[in-house]
């Protein structure tokens, strides 16, 4: 299929449809409105249903209802709206409901601003809602990658019966890039015998009970053991990352999302000045690719690492945990949606080099 120039939000929406998503429930918030707008026109054309909910709370609970009914379903929002959805995200994690949640991050806390940001890393990766659970979290750094990720997101959501979050900075949603949208006419969706699709007593399918309440200590313990056994499998099998120019590098940049692309430009600037720098880019933020990050940074040639984020420093904590003190890891970043330039990043590395 030929490449097409598309806006990120619209490309993500179409990619979700190609991945088998037929239901979307959402509430308007900038900068992700192009997703619900696109879905409102497209989903009825493919026999699906778009519904604008009365709130983010209602939207995520509609997702619970539809995901529990066996459908491929998705919602999207941006930071303050994602905060509102946390009750339902925690519910879906506990009730083992596959679904995909897109967060086009904007600046926070509170209402923040409407520019791109990476301030929701902690919320996405460390919980967000209450209780012991994880989401699978993917962070695209281009529109093409975001599109390819949608198929993966829906597939792993079904495979592991878990909510999956696409954590994108607002730039991914708002910019336009050429993309190749993969169609999948032979897509076969997995059977979901646990879903609420109708129950006949004495029939083959068991009665569905989609629930997040386990009032007995032993019962809740059993649920958590089951979830955490599954998380261990996810951690073993689902880590995704990219390394760029890392072998024999003197400095390693760590970044995710759009910022990682700025880092690549900085690496080229540094190369022109005879400084070899590389990049390690986590693509799955949970499970976090700790070993890949460690191996990229802890090599003989590497003096120091620098994590660059559009936040006051969130992923840097996981980078430091992965490196475990074996190399210094510095942080560069500003909240308030300030995207550093390639020149600024290169200059910071040169400063580190001067000591």
């Amino acid at each position: 299929m030929a490449k097409k120039l598309m806006k990120g939000c619209e490309a993500i929406a179409e990619a979700a449809i190609q991945a088998g998503c037929r239901y979307f429930f959402g509430y308007p918030i900038t900068p992700q409105n192009d997703i619900p707008e696109y879905m409102s026109l497209r989903l009825p054309q493919v026999g699906g249903c778009f519904l604008q909910a009365e709130s983010e709370l209602a939207a995520i609970n509609m997702v619970y209802g539809a995901g529990g009914a066996g459908a491929r379903v998705m919602t999207s929002s941006s930071s303050p709206g994602i905060s509102l959805k946390q009750e339902g995200i925690s519910t879906c994690a506990a009730a083992e409901i596959p679904c995909v949640v897109v967060n086009m991050m904007r600046g926070g806390p509170g209402l923040g601003n409407i520019q791109a940001s990476q301030g929701d890393y902690f919320q996405a990766v460390k919980g967000g809602g209450h209780g012991d659970y994880h989401l699978i979290v993917y962070a695209p750094s281009s529109i093409q990658e975001a599109c390819d990720m949608m198929q993966k997101a829906f597939d792993v959501a079904d495979q592991y019966r878990t909510p999956v979050m696409i954590l994108a900075d607002g730039l991914i949603g708002q910019m336009m890039e050429p993309v190749e949208l993969k169609t999948n006419p032979d897509l076969v969706l997995p059977e979901k015998p646990w879903a609420a699709t109708g129950y006949t007593p004495g029939g083959k399918k068991p009665r569905s009970v989609l629930n997040s309440l386990y009032i007995e200590t032993e019962d809740l313990d059993q649920l958590l053991e089951r979830l955490f056994a599954r998380y261990a499998v996810i951690e073993a099998n689902e880590q995704m990352w990219e390394t760029y120019n890392t072998e024999g590098a003197e400095y390693i940049l760590c970044a995710y999302g759009t910022v990682a692309r700025v880092c690549k430009a900085a690496i080229r600037i540094l190369g022109e000045q005879g400084v070899k720098a590389g990049l390690v880019r986590p693509i799955s933020l949970w499970p976090f690719p700790s070993k890949a990050v460690h191996d990229a940074i802890v090599q003989d040639s590497v003096k120091e690492a620098l994590t660059v984020e559009v936040s006051s420093g969130q992923m840097v904590e996981d980078i430091r945990l992965a490196v475990n003190g074996e190399r210094p890891v510095q942080f560069m970043g500003k909240a308030g949606s300030y995207i550093p330039t390639a020149e600024e990043i290169a200059e910071r590395i040169l400063q580190m080099r001067r000591g």
């Binding site: 519904l51 009365e54 509609m62 209802g65 539809a66 009914a69 609420a196």
Partner: protein, 244 residues
């Protein structure tokens, strides 16, 4: 021996956790009987609330969801949009529906969502220990209105049936009570009508049921039934408020 009465198979053979004299058991049986009589058990699902009926997913022998507090109509909406040829009911108390879940119930009605809501109004929060509900009567003592509800401080009780009947998407809205045999018969008939409204795809349907809570009202079961007649019905008139 002739069988003159038997339990509906839609109610599962498990012990109910409700207090003596509580109305939930009566309504559970009526809802189950209606599902049986309409022959929709294999195409029906239910949504349990947060509140005393939180374990309702153990009692109805249909596919069941347990929803977060107040969100049952949104969950039911998600199910119904995926399976428009199936049926779904939400079973909610007054804290769930008339307080934390007002947005969800109003907008489910507003969309004309083809779902059925069973709304238990017992004028109090039962499960959490007898706190004031939006439906608590003026002067009624609860654990958070120990001197009696003061309307100047927290308003008068909210009348949900009347309110939802004003919404164009509502197709059947009624209020019933469990305090007498004639009212029990009317309650069962209204529940049936509500499900029939959903089957006919006319729009949103709800039956509000005035139901006793002897434990948190500090009354005997018999006194609680009398209090429905003497105190609740004068403020919450019975009847059908909307029928399309």
């Amino acid at each position: 021996m002739t069988v003159v009465f038997k339990k509906t198979p839609v109610l599962r053979d498990v012990p109910l956790h409700y207090c003596p004299g509580c109305g939930h058991g009566i309504v559970h049986r009526m809802v189950s009987e209606v599902i049986e009589e309409l022959g929709i058990q294999d195409k029906c699902a239910g949504v349990a609330p947060v509140g005393c009926a939180v374990f309702a997913y153990n009692y109805f022998d249909v596919d069941m969801y347990e929803a977060a507090h107040g969100r049952a109509p949104a969950v039911a909406t998600g199910f119904k949009r995926v399976h428009p040829d199936h049926y779904i009911f939400t079973y909610q108390g007054d804290g769930d529906l008339a307080s934390i879940g007002t947005a969800e119930i109003v907008h489910a009605a507003h969309r004309g969502e083809k779902i059925t809501t069973i709304f238990i109004n017992n004028a109090i929060y039962g499960m959490t220990g007898g706190q004031m509900a939006p439906t608590t009567l003026v002067g009624q003592k609860t654990t958070t209105s120990p001197l009696g509800r003061d309307k100047d401080h927290c308003g008068e009780p909210i009348r949900m049936a009347e309110m939802l009947a004003t919404i164009s998407g509502s197709a059947f809205i009624a209020r019933c009570a469990l305090n007498s045999t004639p009212n029990l018969i009317k309650t069962k008939a209204a529940i049936k009508k509500a499900f029939e409204t959903q089957i006919a795809r006319k729009g949103f349907s709800m039956v509000e049921i005035l139901s006793p809570c002897p434990t948190n009202w500090g009354k005997s079961p018999a006194e609680a039934m009398d209090w429905i007649a003497d105190a609740m019905i004068p403020y919450y008139p019975l009847g059908t408020f909307k029928e399309v």
